[in-house]
């Protein structure tokens, strides 16, 4: 059963592979893209070694210095989408002296979301503490055979995972961007016209609602010099630039209001259920929200069975959510990997539109906000605070910085997902491993601070041996299970 899922997943992967024809060995230069600036002609070779990931690019970008000065006005940049990525990008742009337009279709949108933010986001983005509804300090991992492991004992008193309401967080970031000088437009982005000449502006077509709900809206256009696409997983900006597709998971979630005494159990505890019944390649969860819990699950390979998985998740948590009333049902796509093209010309994608969601945990809010900020910083720097026109090279700097900073995180989580979400024995081993204090410390440190810190080598070796031992035991039990017929 799991091998079938595995095969199905890989067959889609191989067809994607064949149709996109990735060639890693020979990469052509980017000479053709740069028409106005002199550039060194070097062939780019990406090194394979993953631990120290350095892009050996001798391509020297001198774009910003020699591109024409923008006279009489500041550089105009439009940010499409007002979620965490859009809000963070707009704020950084506005603070950098750039004329910013933030286009958001629904200002009170309650985006369906897990809603978990790491501790570092509160510090890095100066979030006020009243935005956070709950601080999760304990987690329970439950294996297919109902072995339950508590993690979180290694957390220090000031460390927690923050649970937020998306409508509150998004509104706060947008308001902060507006205070910094960005123009927030309530409208739905329709399409954009590419520039005819090299320094001509983009023409964006959007339907302006101006705060009126249910109305037809007025079609308007806007001319800008650069665009940041922060409009989420079904990004229209990505479609406009032909960014390509990605595999995505469906996350299905039900918000359930349970009695107060049952709610005290989830006071600052979140649960994760793993198992083939709950999801073949992801996990089911019970996350506490402000006054109810969100029970959900997700999958990439078996999207049609999502309701069955949801029933199974509810069944496993039945005791703890018994008698609860479902108050809302929601679903959303989660990108599994970045789009093939994350930028084109003076258009860049950030957040979910670019596909910056980690594997294994499915975390996206922090990376969306951070990528928005990084892209905006690259624009501010490349345009020298709005005085010069920017080039694709300036946006490539953002991609470079992003890949260099967060590639290890993404890769480690990918490996974890491949090893531990593969089959029931692997999940049993995973839950067993989580009982280890060293594992808990490493996991939380890397999650809360977004740094993959190498620990004590002796402990690492012990951990490796324990992991292998767990996997071997679980697989041996699986072979025994295959021999038994109940």
């Amino acid at each position: 059963m799991t091998s079938v899922a595995f095969t199905a997943h890989l067959s889609t992967a191989t067809t994607n592979q064949k149709s996109n024809e990735f060639r890693r060995e020979t990469l052509k230069t980017f000479v053709g893209l740069r028409k106005t600036t002199p550039v060194n002609h070097h062939s780019i070779s990406l090194t394979k070694s993953l631990p120290n990931r350095q892009f050996n690019r001798s391509l020297r970008i001198v774009a910003g210095k020699s591109s024409p000065k923008v006279t009489g006005r500041n550089l105009r940049v439009a940010v499409i989408g007002g979620g965490p990525a859009g809000g963070a990008a707009a704020e950084t742009l506005a603070k950098g002296g750039i004329e910013t337009f933030l286009i958001e279709r629904k200002l009170d949108n309650c985006k369906p979301c897990g809603g978990a933010i790491p501790l570092c986001m509160v510090g890095e983005f100066d979030l006020p503490l009243d935005i956070i509804d709950r601080r999760v300090t304990k987690m329970k991992m439950i294996s297919p055979s109902n072995v339950a492991v508590d993690i979180g004992q290694t957390l220090k008193p000031h460390e927690y995972i923050g649970m937020v309401r998306r409508e509150v967080l998004d509104a706060y970031l947008r308001d902060r961007a507006a205070t910094a000088g960005a123009t927030v437009i309530n409208g739905l982005f329709l399409k954009m016209d590419m520039p005819e000449a090299s320094n001509a502006p983009f023409v964006l077509h959007y339907t302006a609602y101006d705060g009126k709900t249910g109305g037809a809206g007025v079609r308007r256009t806007l001319e800008v010099d650069a665009v940041i696409g922060a409009d989420g997983a079904n990004s229209r900006v990505a479609k406009s630039i032909g960014a390509g597709d990605y595999d995505y998971a469906i996350a299905f979630q039900e918000r359930i209001k349970i009695s107060d005494e049952k709610m005290t159990y989830y006071e600052n505890l979140a649960e994760m259920y793993v198992g083939d019944d709950v999801s073949p390649d992801f996990y089911g969860w019970v996350f506490p929200k402000c006054d109810h819990v969100a029970v959900g699950t997700g999958t990439v390979t078996h999207k049609g069975d999502i309701k069955k998985f949801q029933l199974a998740t509810r069944n496993r948590a039945k005791d703890k959510i018994f008698g609860g009333k479902i108050i809302r049902v929601e679903a959303h796509p989660i990108p599994e990997h970045p789009r093939p093209r994350r930028l084109a010309g003076r258009v860049a994608l950030v957040g979910d539109a670019a596909g910056y969601v980690t594997k294994c945990s499915g975390e996206g809010i922090y990376f969306a906000a951070k990528s928005g900020r990084m892209c905006a910083e690259a624009i501010v720097e490349g345009s020298e605070k709005g005085t010069r026109m920017i080039e694709e090279g300036d946006l490539r700097k953002y991609l470079e910085k992003w890949d260099k900073t967060y590639w290890p995180t993404y890769k480690v989580l990918d490996v974890l997902q491949k090893v531990f979400y593969r089959s029931n024995p692997a999940r049993e081993a995973f839950v067993e491993m989580c009982a280890d204090e060293y594992v808990q410390k490493m996991t939380f440190d890397s999650y809360l601070y977004k740094k993959v810190v190498p620990g004590n080598p002796l402990d690492d070796i012990k951990l490796a041996i324990n992991t292998i031992g767990s996997l071997v035991r679980a697989n041996a039990l699986r072979r025994e299970m295959d021999k038994i017929t109940l």
Partner: protein, 274 residues
């Protein structure tokens, strides 16, 4: 068909949820659902719960109907948990969330094989009939309690015997063939570098390819290990090469995505369509 009826009924429930949501979000209470909206919440919730029960029964019925052509192993277990009292795992030796090791003593010695088999039975049962995870009856058993030599004697040794047997047979015939072809006898072969390399490859092959499906599995493992890297590096490749093909695959992708969305009836549940 029953499976379409469920999403339809859930859609009605969901759209009414959405209406409620709009009113509440405009009110902007201190917490999600303010007191003055209580009446609305109550009526919708009751409906939601009824929908939930109906959905469960219909879901079971539809899964059972789909049994012949689709889900085979799953249909029985859903029927079991849905229709009557769910089957619980019972075993005389399973007490308080762990195996009572005193009951596994055979001839005065600890019977670890029995523990392994019992635990495998329990996991198999739970795989077929997933059970509620309760805090009152937590599972305390950890498989690490079984000593390492018990695993070796039960799982590793028989397979090791098999592999050694295969290696011996292949080795004997390989030695005979090489002797017949080149005239090198046993002592001569062990001194020859090519023969030693060949021997190493044979042993490696026997260890790696034990069943026919291992051939495909290993190839997939290699592909899988490098696929994520390729996806990330796609941004750094020549855009012209990927652009033409990506347009085509993009069209397919949106068509597939629409189809899947329709299949799981996600249209109303918060997807903003293109």
């Amino acid at each position: 068909m029953a499976s379409i009826a469920i999403p339809a009924s859930l859609k009605i429930a969901c759209s009414s949820h959405h209406v409620i949501k709009k009113q509440q979000s405009q009110a902007k209470p201190g917490c999600c659902f303010g007191a003055k909206q209580a009446t609305h919440v109550v009526t919708v919730d009751v409906e939601g719960k009824r929908m939930l029960n109906i959905a469960e029964q219909q879901e079971n019925a539809s899964v059972h109907n789909k049994g012949p052509k689709g889900v085979e192993g799953e249909s029985e277990h859903v029927m079991d948990t849905g229709s009557s009292v769910p089957k619980l795992f019972h075993d005389a030796r399973w007490k308080n969330g762990t195996w009572d090791l005193n009951m596994f003593v055979k001839d005065g010695k600890m019977d670890w094989d029995g523990v392994i088999v019992a635990e495998a039975r329990r996991r198999k049962f739970l795989e077929m009939h997933p059970q509620v995870s309760t805090n009152q009856a937590p599972v305390l058993f950890r498989s690490s309690i079984i000593p390492w030599w018990a695993w070796i004697m039960r799982s590793h040794l028989p397979e090791a015997e098999l592999l050694n047997g295969r290696a011996a047979m292949v080795g004997f015939f390989a030695a005979y063939l090489v002797d017949a072809l080149t005239g090198l006898d046993m002592v001569g072969q062990t001194g020859n570098f090519i023969c030693k390399t060949g021997l190493f490859m044979i042993v490696l092959g026997i260890i790696l390819f034990r069943r026919t499906k291992d051939l495909g599995n290993l190839q997939k493992l290699v592909d899988e290990a490098t696929f994520y890297d390729k996806q990330w590096q796609a941004s750094w490749q020549n855009p012209d090469a990927s652009n033409g093909t990506s347009e085509q695959s993009q069209k397919d992708y949106y068509a597939d995505a629409d189809k899947e969305c329709q299949e799981c009836e996600m249209g109303n549940m918060g997807f903003y369509g293109n």
